[in-house]
Amino acid sequence: MHRKRLAWSLGLCLLAGASLWVLWVSVQNWLPVSYLPYYLPCPEVLSQYPQPKLLLEHRPTELLTLTPWLAPIVSEGTFDPELLQHIYQPLNLTIGVTVFAMGKYTRFVQRFLESAEKFFMRGYRVHYYVFTHDPAAIPRVPLGPGRHLSVIPTQGHSHWEEISMRRMEAISRHIAGRAHGEVDYLFCLDVDMVFRNPWGPETLGDLVAAIHPGYYAVPRQQFPYERRPVSTAFVADGEGDFYYGGAVFGGQLARLYEFTRGCHMAILADKANGIMAAWQEESHLNRRFISHKPSKVLSPEYLWDDRKPQPPSLKLIRFSTLDKDGGWLRN
């Protein structure tokens, strides 16, 4: 009888161990940890490309190409698209894109998607996530093979500022809930924009930010940071690297989750104090990018304002504003 009990207890032990194991496995799948090899050995298929020239006879680009923390600043001329294609294609990546089409902004979805189909990550698996309060208003745009679209019904708000601030929360929830099983990298883009030239794997990185087109040639004291010390988005006078645009950011899911969640918490803290940052979530994004520096920065080629004349230093505008009058839209 004693032996029977022993056997029972051992069996129970085993069961407990097994259930812990199952728990771990399921938790592990949920945890955003997957080692993405940044390369794949591609032996003979490596195409011929010109040897990089170490000693410069002339500048390849007039722009800064490395941040002081050694993150690349991506612009035309800094990378070889074919070489990057060879490196990234075999990795079988899926790239996600989030856009928010709330209120009248649903009318921008068509052109956004059509241009994305032409220029965004051609040859890769892409998953568009369109957050909208009105799924019926989202047009059916033909998508290429391996490219999908999901409409995510989202609660609307009366004020466009509120909509803007809620994006961080929506994105971080989305990553935790759904995106982590579906995509490897995620970009969060504004919908009232259009792709004009190729946007490829040169933009992929752990945490990616884009330089705002209005402030790339301006001293940091003139950046429209939130300057009130009571706000969590406050940036002091001598602080700041670049002014990043809220219309383009992205990265690997794990890092992006931490980033968007951090922004969301900061926004909530401000809300509790009855304050809204000068440029809503863009202010919070900029605050956070100072203390959590991006691993890759996109030049204003990747976030341009068509109302500005294209300067000679920017060779190829890839993503820019759709001509619209902002006033009536924000009612």
């Binding site: 050995p41 040897q51 991506v74 990378f79 070889d80 040639a217």
Partner: protein, 369 residues
Amino acid sequence: MEPRGKPNCRLLRPSILLLMALVLVLLGYGILSPGGRMLGSLGAGTAVREPDRLQVVTQSRMAYPQPKVLTPSRTDVLVLTPWLAPIVWEGTFNSDILNVQFQLQNTTVGLTVFAIKKYVVFLKLFLETAEKHFMAGHRVIYYVFTDRPDAVPRVALGPGRRLQVLRARPYARWQDVSMRRMQMLSEAAEQRFLREVDYLVCADVDMQFHDHVGVEILSPLFGTLHPAFYGRPREAFTYERRPQSQAHIPWDEGDFYYMGAFFGGSVPEVQRLTKACHQAMLADRANGIEAVWHDESHLNKYLLYHKPTKVLSPEYMWDQQLLGWPSVLRKLRFVAVPKNHQEIRKSESGGQPTGSPEGAGRAGRAAGN
């Protein structure tokens, strides 16, 4: 029988329960704790230290000049490879920012060096200068592979830094000494480096640190530009050109010529590299061929098809005696110690030097060019 068994019974039951509880607790802890090593073979590397992974690095407020978008940091040299890996030159980075980033992650760097036979004589200068210039302010473990543990000098080490002597088998030919490093590194990577450090820096011992070498070099995989070839066309690179060798690189391929004396990266990446190089060398040996520059040839083959995430400029690998101090190098950080190759490679019995006809060694090729 029964009465005799009773007292044992009473003790046995609670002790079994206690044992069960202990086992459950250990199991649970081993599986659920983030540092758990038990399932290391399962999850994709979650059980090992992953330096560039999920760390949320919060910088505290710092004062430094604003980077200027319209002003490249260096206009005389390339600072970004075509696959968007930084090429590290003086002027491209801000050490203060980088130090904070890596310190917040509690980064530990392992520096491996091989001091076989007579090469132990280089250890003192290597370690002393490393104490001054290498990863100051960060945790460092020196791994000294040697066949003469008693000859390892006692060098005073700063806080957070320690030295580990590892036994290495001495091979007769210096080429084998050089090549077998790959094997020893890949084995040690699996056995201890994975658990002890985040990054590995693998260096030659007959060198000294002359200026700052810090966390700006750290990334998943880095190689260093050979000082003799940084301005040369790829046809002049001394790659292995015979198709029979695993290290073969065709004439129209190649980005840079990397030096075998200074490379590194995260432990998993260095493990992959050293394992691949070692296996390639074994394959060559089975085919009766030895690559022209031994482990360096294989390193170059590997880095051609597994692009490094950072490339170090020749500031990190220089020979001032042979090459002077050109203006393109604002700092000389890691430099060769002048040595008599014939003397140092001579076998212990005092016979002929076992070196190959190239005897003048690495930088000697520069003089010849």
